[in-house]
């Protein structure tokens, strides 16, 4: 084999290693567990009382947050989720703000917390398995004892959910874990437990989606009943009026679905929720990684070529020196 052949061979190896444009096997977007747990947030039922924000703080033993430069640091004032706050209710406002749940000259509330993605970017991004998705409940959990604090999860999440405590010498990631620590006491997500109107509802995702479908099928303005707390719990019969929704259950298809699903009268783009394709970014990233490094086949083949070439060159050099 002469120099030219080496050149070609190594080049081919290098190109194959780098390009990976035709990965052997695509990593499919994950599908939802039949026992997945989650939340249904119905923005039209939300009255913006923020009882959920307060209950979440208490259940997760998180400190209060104050507005910058406030003269009244007496009560919790989070503007967004953060290292100290796992859920907030945000306000959408437009024009005269006359009507609730109207895009024009209206206002609306929207919950922000972890979506518990079916195929979460944070879990795929985490290099040390600190972010995990429970195979049954689908809850995306965080283990600070494993975490190295690299914040790849913070950067990767399309919803901007994992947050970090930059102000602490011993920092950690903060994110909603659907109150999984309360399950052993027979309790469930604190935000849903305290929600007075049932705007945030806890349950199995399949049931929540059925409930969402029922609401969407109702004629706006007609009388109906709403469950509160958790689906299948003691409080299932709160009378109310059917709302007018935009034709979308957010979280049904985005990135293969999320376990917090949402209904709203205002388009979700206006509420800060991105349009995401059905194929998850985690699936794309892992398809690329598996294509390049699956079974270490390509790196080892490339190493073989390199070793061969390097050995020949070094031998040549040695013989020159002799």
């Amino acid at each position: 084999m002469d120099r030219r052949d080496f050149f070609k061979l190594s080049l081919a190896g290098g190109a194959a290693l780098a390009a990976g444009s035709s990965p052997a096997e695509a990593r499919e977007t994950h599908t939802i567990s039949p026992d997945a747990l989650g939340l249904l947030y119905d923005a039209t039922l939300c009255i913006g009382c923020k009882a959920c924000v307060s209950a979440c703080k208490e259940a997760n033993e998180m400190p209060p947050e104050f507005l910058p430069k406030t003269e009244q640091p007496y009560w919790d004032q989070p503007l967004d989720i953060s290292g100290k706050t796992l859920t907030v209710i945000k306000l959408y406002q437009n024009g005269t703000m006359e009507k609730k749940d109207e895009e024009q000259n209206g206002y609306a509330f929207i919950k922000k917390s972890c979506m518990h993605c079916v195929d979460p970017s944070c879990v795929s991004a985490c290099p040390v398995s600190a972010m995990q998705k429970d195979p049954l409940s689908g809850i995306v959990s965080y283990n600070k004892d494993a975490c190295i604090g690299c914040r790849y999860c913070v950067a990767a999440c399309p919803f901007g959910v994992p947050r970090f405590t930059y102000d602490l010498a011993i920092p950690q990631i903060s994110k909603c874990q659907l109150c999984r620590h309360r399950v052993k006491d027979g309790k469930y997500a604190a935000c849903a437990e305290v929600c007075p109107t049932g705007a945030t509802l806890y349950g199995k995702v399949t049931d929540l989606k059925q409930e969402a479908a029922r609401r969407r099928a109702l004629k706006p303005g007609t009388a109906t009943i709403y469950p509160r707390g958790r689906l299948g719990g003691p409080e299932q019969n709160y009378p109310g009026v059917a709302a007018k929704y935009v034709d979308r259950l957010y979280g049904e298809k985005e990135f293969g679905g999320t376990q917090m699903v949402m209904l709203s009268g205002v388009p979700f783009e206006k509420l800060g929720y991105p349009d995401l394709p059905p194929r998850s970014d985690a699936a794309k990233s892992e398809t690329l990684q598996h294509g390049l490094y699956g079974g270490l086949v390509m790196p080892l083949a490339f190493l073989g070529v390199l070793t061969y070439a390097a050995r020949r060159t070094v031998k040549d050099e040695d013989s020159h020196h002799d």
């Binding site: 120099r3 604090g149 690299c150 399309p158 990233s285 390199l306 070439a309």
Partner: protein, 387 residues
């Protein structure tokens, strides 16, 4: 004289270690150490401007991503000398390897400054914690291994001094294997630094979200930067140590740079065209502005290095190298910072202490390079210098 000089084996350059230059460098490094002390006592937020909208600042994007790409000289030259069997570039190997050694070691160490829970960093290598689907896992493991491999590659330069000639002999016998690993590992992690962006999806501006071509683009620019840095360092070393320039050799190297640069631009612009992202370069946005600056940095060297006259002119070569380094810097800063948006209302610009650390790291690196070159056999011996 140059032709004659290059045939000499490496030798210590000698000279005084304490000079105005080294004192200033040491002062800058010390300032960085003070900031880092604050960071470890009061947390990342006390000294940096990073936030939940920009969780990665210059300590990652510059110190690690650009820093390691600037440290690809050893990789690029090893690729040329040992894999493509271009022995004539051999005099460039040791100086380039030394710069890479420092660049990478510091990039690796500086990761610790940025890791929030740094005491757990070993989890990346530990079965049970290690998460092999993560691009970050691949980057971390390959960079760590490469730093190790480079110290072994460089060890013949100092094992003699330590009186370990036996170890040197054994390592030299297996050197071809370390050389091969020294090409494989940077190929893997330099491409993966681009792959890190894949999972950011539409949070990355279309001008930089090249999807499955990201690893190729980052790898090609890493090799380009490696060559550019070799030219850059060779020029500075010949000026700083008052040595003859290896212009003839660098001019030939510039031919490789030119070809690779054309190939890179074809991939980069071709991808933008195919994805229909090129239109966003013609809007009045900050992203479009920085995109053009980045492209100019890559395109001007194409013109500078096109003719043999330009390639054999040290000034032109140096200018082209600096522009390429700026282009590679911008590709990474644009991809990870300028072109990154996770939602409305987030801003990031590095704080003064943050910049102090990055500058201090560079100063420390140059300082260590000077000390090593003066005391260890790195640069080719020159007839003028007594051996």
């Amino acid at each position: 004289m140059t032709e004659h000089a290059v045939s000499h084996a490496p030798a210590p350059a000698g000279g005084r270690l304490i000079s105005p230059v080294t004192v200033v460098l040491a002062a800058l490094a010390l300032a960085a150490a003070v900031v880092l002390a604050c960071r470890f006592v009061y947390g990342l937020g006390a000294v940096t401007n990073i936030n939940d909208g920009f969780p990665w600042g210059i300590w990652i994007v510059y110190d690690v991503m650009v820093g390691s790409a600037f440290a690809c000289g050893g990789y690029a030259i090893a690729l040329l000398v040992y894999i493509f069997n271009r022995g004539e570039y051999h005099p460039l190997v040791r100086p380039a390897l030394l710069a890479s050694l420092f660049g990478y070691t510091l990039a690796g160490v500086s990761v610790i400054f940025d890791l929030g829970r740094y005491w757990n960093f070993w989890h990346i290598f530990w079965p049970g914690y290690a998460q092999v689907n993560s691009v970050m896992f691949e980057v971390a493991v390959c960079i760590s291994l490469y730093i190790l491999v480079m110290w072994i590659e460089f060890s013949p330069a100092f094992l003699d001094r330590l009186g370990m000639s036996g170890a040197k002999k054994k390592i030299s016998k297996l050197m071809f294997l370390f050389i091969a690993l020294g090409v494989l590992l940077p190929s893997m992690h330099q491409s993966s630094l681009g792959s890190l962006l894949v999972i950011f999806g539409s949070q990355i501006h279309p001008l930089w979200q090249a999807g499955f071509l990201l690893p190729l683009e980052y790898l090609m620019t890493a090799v380009l930067l490696g060559f550019a840095v070799v030219v850059f360092e060779a020029t500075l070393v010949s000026l700083g140590f008052k040595r003859a320039m290896e212009t003839a050799l660098l001019a030939r190297l510039a031919r490789f740079i030119w070809g690779l640069l054309i190939a890179y631009l074809l991939v980069r612009v071709g991808d933008l065209a195919v994805r229909g992202a090129l239109v966003s370069a013609f809007r009045f946005t900050l992203e479009a502005f920085w995109f053009w600056i980045e492209m100019i940095c890559f395109v001007i060297p194409v013109w500078l290095l096109a003719a043999p006259a330009g390639r054999s002119n040290p000034g032109v070569l140096f200018a082209a190298a600096v522009m390429l380094m700026a282009g590679g810097f911008l590709l990474r800063v644009n991809g990870f910072l300028v072109g990154y948006e996770t939602g409305a209302g987030w801003h990031y610009f590095p704080s003064l202490p943050e910049l102090t650390v990055s500058v201090g790291l560079i100063a420390f690196e140059i300082l260590a390079y000077i000390v090593f070159v003066k005391t260890l056999p790195v640069l080719p011996a020159q007839s003028a210098t007594p051996r």
